[in-house]
Amino acid sequence: MTTEAAQPTNAAGVAGTAVTAGVTAAGPDPQPGAVSRRLPRPKFGLDRFSGLYVWLLIIIVFGSWLPDTFLRSDNFQIIAGDQAITAMLALGLIVPLAAGVFDLSCAATLGFAVAVVTWLLQQGVNPVLAVLLAIGSGAFIGLINGLVVVRLNVDSFIATLGMSSILAAAAYWVTDGEQIVNTASKTFLDAGSTRLWGISLPFYYMVLLAVILYVVIDHTPVGRYLYAAGGNPQAARLAGLRVARITWGALIVSATIAALTGVILAAKLGSASQDVGPPYLLPAFSAVFLGSTQIKAGRMNVLGTLVAIYLLATGVKGLQLAGSPSYVNNLFNGLALIIAVALAARTHRRR
């Protein structure tokens, strides 16, 4: 299915075992009745929940440094709303990454959906139909990704990278390289910008999506299929799982969620241009990988991903309020990802 060159689970796998091993305090074959059994070491969850501690630390540091600007409820409301789009994209990305396939085309799919839905509305198409068509185009993109990966045996990394480029071309074609502005449907725009308890609606869509994915991945057999296919595809196949179908399905799900996210972004922006999608790619990937060191360490998981997103966003916001230049955003995100995954890998090696 996937070659060594692109096994998303590997990176997280390293990070993951690390922490599991730490928690269970395991040697290769402990003797029954060993002392450690009777006197378990206190567990503060410093590994699994390190993200939460760091998050708290960030809030305390910036809170005492900038009490007037940072510690205000509207600040937190802005952080929550701003990150909804990245978070939704990252949540959709968990599915293929858990199953051991990359979807590098998710951000391009998002951008394409923004272009499609905005253009359709501008042409006077019924908003409901426009939204359904845009989301449907996402499902179709996922279907093609799956076809290329499963049937044509192209590595998912390459297949979705190619698809990404094709979608960039398609988005350019739809928008004609211009910015198109949606003036047609006010209801549609309201759905992206109305605030509820001070937070814009996309945040609540994201929470709903997170709940659904959490239940599906953690409390139905689907999650087991995904993790089994991602953990050892050959063993999964010999345990009767239809790995090809799981892979295919995972790619359809991520593309559909990416398109849905694109529709919401279109409602939020009220306009479309051919380059809105790509900037979301790296933050979404970082969030999932950083998230895989958290909560359910070693696995791409919903809660960990959310912790990662908001941890990074809070840090960046604090730095901005403290007057840092705008490039700090990328710098902070990149450093945090590398350091977190490296720390987890180090714990793993010391085992």
Partner: protein, 507 residues
């Protein structure tokens, strides 16, 4: 015994968090000696070897001398420089590369003035190295395409090849785990020639006949401590087993595998063909245990996978009268087949996942209600199975990777026994499993058959086939060449049949 030891291990201890893996182990090995190192899984053998190889650092106070010079710990390069050489169980070869390149992984390439590889010299060197070990195969083929014993030879050649220092101690970690008996004999000849060259050999094996057949002395480890070191002469297998497990091995009942107990036909196979199999017919009744023997290349390796749909096949496979299409393990499973595949790590284990997920992966919906898992009842069911199979530790939340090989294998068995399969196919079910767990796995197979499963056991361990099966089919050249029944089911007889037919068809 006046020679000075080339390897001198003193007070070697290693503590992992919560567990002492080695406790004050003293071992001396002399040049020109073949020393067996035995003990159950988890006794500390692998830890000892990993310390020698420089992968683990021992506790303070431990001391290892190689040729009277202290070994500095935790550094594979200084272990190598001291003359300690290793052939690990998985051999550590790159299957896609040929012998020349694999040898170069050990010592680097011979380069000319411009930094270009001197291919002609490299090839000549590889050919000599292989020939010195008594082998003659095409060194330009990818090692993945070589026979198992030839691959082992490549790994040994690499371990012995020119380094900065000559090899002093060669450690072979279960080198025969994947070798059929005849090929193992070639390896033993090789090991003896290495010994005769004055190298000390440490030979780790679960096969006690190899310990007696090959080794001069044996060191027994149990629970991290050295039990004894003795000459193999004067010991017998029962003594050695007792030393390893610290008690007499309980004798399990021999299975009631006679024809009277057989039920209806559970597995019916007609003209099974794969790249290696050339038309195999096989009928197995409920309650029957049928063994499959054969040398490497006989088609034995592919049979189990082909039955289950893990590789492409021709012919007809029917479970309880229903034909199963090829390449559909999911359907094979639905119709009542189960497969415990060979090479656990590649084919069966989800090492990062916990035991619960490893067990339920083959029946993920058994405990779900309206699509939602009921983890509690699932967990208690899995715990019951771990308990029944005597998995240690029986902790559903523990990661699979932290268990010993034997316990991992029992977890995989639990996965299938829990489904109560009509047909249970076992491929090398006790590969890399210690002697106690092996007896337990055998007892579980007996019980599954007694409960009405039709069992197919594919194995290179002919004692195992003799122990388990009511009938053994011997494969050679992709066909069934012999069928042995209860009355003449002895390991020697099976081996003779497998080897005999190979010789006959070759001539």
């Amino acid at each position: 015994m006046v020679a000075t030891p080339v390897l001198r291990v003193r007070r070697l201890s290693k503590t992992f968090p919560g567990q002492r893996a080695l406790v004050d182990v003293d071992i001396d090995v002399e040049p020109g000696e073949i020393r067996a190192l035995v003990g159950q899984n988890g006794c500390g053998k692998s830890t000892l070897i990993k310390i020698l190889a420089g992968f683990h650092e021992p506790d303070a106070g431990s001391e290892v001398m190689v040729a009277d010079r202290p070994l500095s710990f935790g550094d594979p390069v200084s272990s190598d420089a001291a003359g300690l050489r290793f052939v690990h169980q998985d051999l550590g070869l790159v299957a896609a590369l040929d012998t020349v390149d694999n040898l170069a992984l050990g010592h680097g390439y011979e380069t000319g003035r411009l930094g270009l590889i001197r291919w002609r010299q490299e090839r000549a060197g590889a050919r000599t190295a292989v020939r010195d070990l008594g082998y003659d195969f095409d060194i330009s083929r990818p090692v993945g395409a070589l026979a198992a014993s030839e691959r082992t030879a490549v790994a040994v050649a690499r371990a012995l090849s020119r380094h900065a220092t000559p090899p002093r101690v060669l450690v072979l970690d279960e080198p025969t785990a994947n070798l059929p008996a005849a090929e193992a004999q070639r390896l033993f000849a090789l090991v003896r020639s290495v010994r005769d060259a004055g190298v000390a050999v440490i030979f780790v094996s679960h096969h006690l006949d190899e310990v007696f057949g090959l080794c001069d002395t044996v060191s027994v480890l149990r629970d991290g401590a050295l039990v004894t070191t003795r000459p193999t002469a004067g010991l017998d297998e029962a003594d050695l087993v007792e030393l390893m497990i610290g008690r007499k091995l309980a004798q399990y009942d021999v299975p009631p595998a006679d024809a009277a107990h057989q039920g209806e036909v559970a597995l019916d196979v007609r003209t099974l063909e794969t790249t290696a199999l050339r038309g195999v017919d096989l009928t197995v009744h409920s309650g029957e245990v049928v063994g499959i023997a054969g040398l490497t290349g006989s088609g034995r390796e592919e049979l189990a996978l082909a039955l289950f749909g893990g590789c492409a096949r021709g012919g007809v496979v029917a479970v309880a009268g229903t034909t199963v299409p090829q390449l559909r393990p999911d359907l094979a499973m639905r119709y009542g087949m189960g497969l415990v595949p060979a090479e656990r790590h590649a084919n069966a284990a989800f090492l990062e996942a916990d035991l619960q997920e490893n067990v339920v992966v083959a029946s993920p919906t058994a405990f779900s209600r309206r699509g939602v898992l009921r983890r509690g009842s699932e967990r208690s069911d899995v715990a019951r199975w771990l308990d029944r199979l005597n998995v240690a530790p029986a902790d559903t939340e523990r990661a699979m990777s932290t268990l010993s090989g034997g316990n991992q294998q029992k977890v995989v068995l639990a996965r299938w026994l829990r489904r109560e399969p009509r047909v249970l196919v076992l491929d090398e079910p006790t590969q890399g499993v210690d002697i106690g767990a092996k007896a337990e796995i055998h007892a579980l197979v007996d019980r599954a058959a007694a409960d009405g499963a039709a069992v197919v056991v594919v194995s290179t361990d002919h004692d195992e086939l003799a122990r388990l099966c009511g009938r053994v089919l011997v494969l050679a050249g992709g066909r069934v060449v012999d069928e042995l029944h209860r009355a003449d089911l002895h390991a020697d007889r099976i081996t003779a049949a497998a080897v005999g037919h190979t010789l006959r068809s070759a001539s």
